[in-house]
């Protein structure tokens, strides 16, 4: 009993040490979305491509899981993740885009220069649509399930690792859901 009294604080200390050490590797920006398990708030947005219809809530009712990528041409990390998105699109992954806090001309220039990985892409010049979704910055990628509900929020550039380890398997699982 007395020995236990001495061992307990030491054990407690090492548990805390483990918790803090694990916390070192975590990205403090990667907060879960407030919309996990809920549908995206209803929205419509202006087109980026001329003569297009933009992006709205109805575009998520496709009967398959879909990625919503929030991007901007002024955003550095978007440049890093863009080739990843292009590759995913080639593999047949469904991706919608929302061009955040810039005019449609900026978004269009970006897509013509770097390629267009999106099925539908909307422009959000004021940033208000993104704010409705709880977007804190670009890039951010939401995983939306078959029923239009948000299932995951990825903050920052999407790397091949993120796709292979987390988002790809999640999309696969969502595809199997009824």
């Amino acid at each position: 009993m007395r020995r236990l009294l001495f061992v307990l604080p030491v054990v407690g200390f090492f548990i805390l040490l483990g918790v803090f050490f694990a916390g070192l590797g975590r990205d403090p920006r990667a907060l879960p979305s407030a919309f996990i398990g809920k549908p995206l708030p209803a929205f419509t947005s202006a087109p980026v491509r001329p003569g297009d219809t933009g992006l709205s809530t109805a575009d998520f009712d496709r009967g398959e899981p879909i990625l919503l990528n929030v991007f901007a041409s002024w955003c550095g990390p978007c440049r890093v993740e863009h080739p990843v998105l292009m590759r995913l699109r080639q593999q047949g992954v469904a991706i919608h885009g929302l061009d955040w806090k810039e005019d449609a001309a900026g978004g269009l220039k970006w897509l013509t220069e770097h390629g267009d990985p999106y099925i539908r892409v909307g422009n959000d010049e004021s940033g208000r649509t993104g704010i409705e979704f709880g977007v804190a910055g670009v890039p951010e990628t939401f995983v939306i399930d078959k029923h239009g509900k948000v299932r995951y929020r990825h903050v920052g550039a999407l790397t091949p690792d993120d796709w292979e380890q987390k988002i790809g398997p999640l999309m696969e699982q969502l595809r199997k859901e009824s």
């Binding site: 979305s33 407030a34 806090k101 940033g127 709880g134 910055g137």
Partner: protein, 160 residues
Amino acid sequence: MKRLLPLAFAFALLAGPAGAVNPDEQLSNPALEARAHKLSKELRCVVCQNQSIDDSDATLARDLRIILRERISAGDSDKQAVAYLVARYGSFVQLDPPMRLDTLALWFGPLAVLLVGGIGAVVYMRGRSPAQVAALTVDEEAELANLLKSANPSSIERAR
């Protein structure tokens, strides 16, 4: 000049921290502006995370300040205006966390640590009771008295 110095100090004390609020964001109604200002100090900027939206220069913080003022102008109560942002960014935006089931550890964790530590300390102190010393025998008492007497300088003085 010397007389002006205390005056300058007095004025310096009057000046509060400026915050990042731009004049064009402020509401013309001072009562509503005061409410918005107070609320924006309690809301976290999700970009910089350890600054309130009142302090932060981030563009998102500016957007949120404007949205907050729009809600308040539209007749939202303080609670409703905060709930509007919490619905979008989660309760992480509240710098002062609400008491809920999942924040109990945050609120009472330190108290629990203090309690456990305190109980530990008490148990430890109790276990360390002073060592028991046997009383002196009659012989030892006599010897001690003798020693004390000889060690007393005044008694030595008198013995001369």
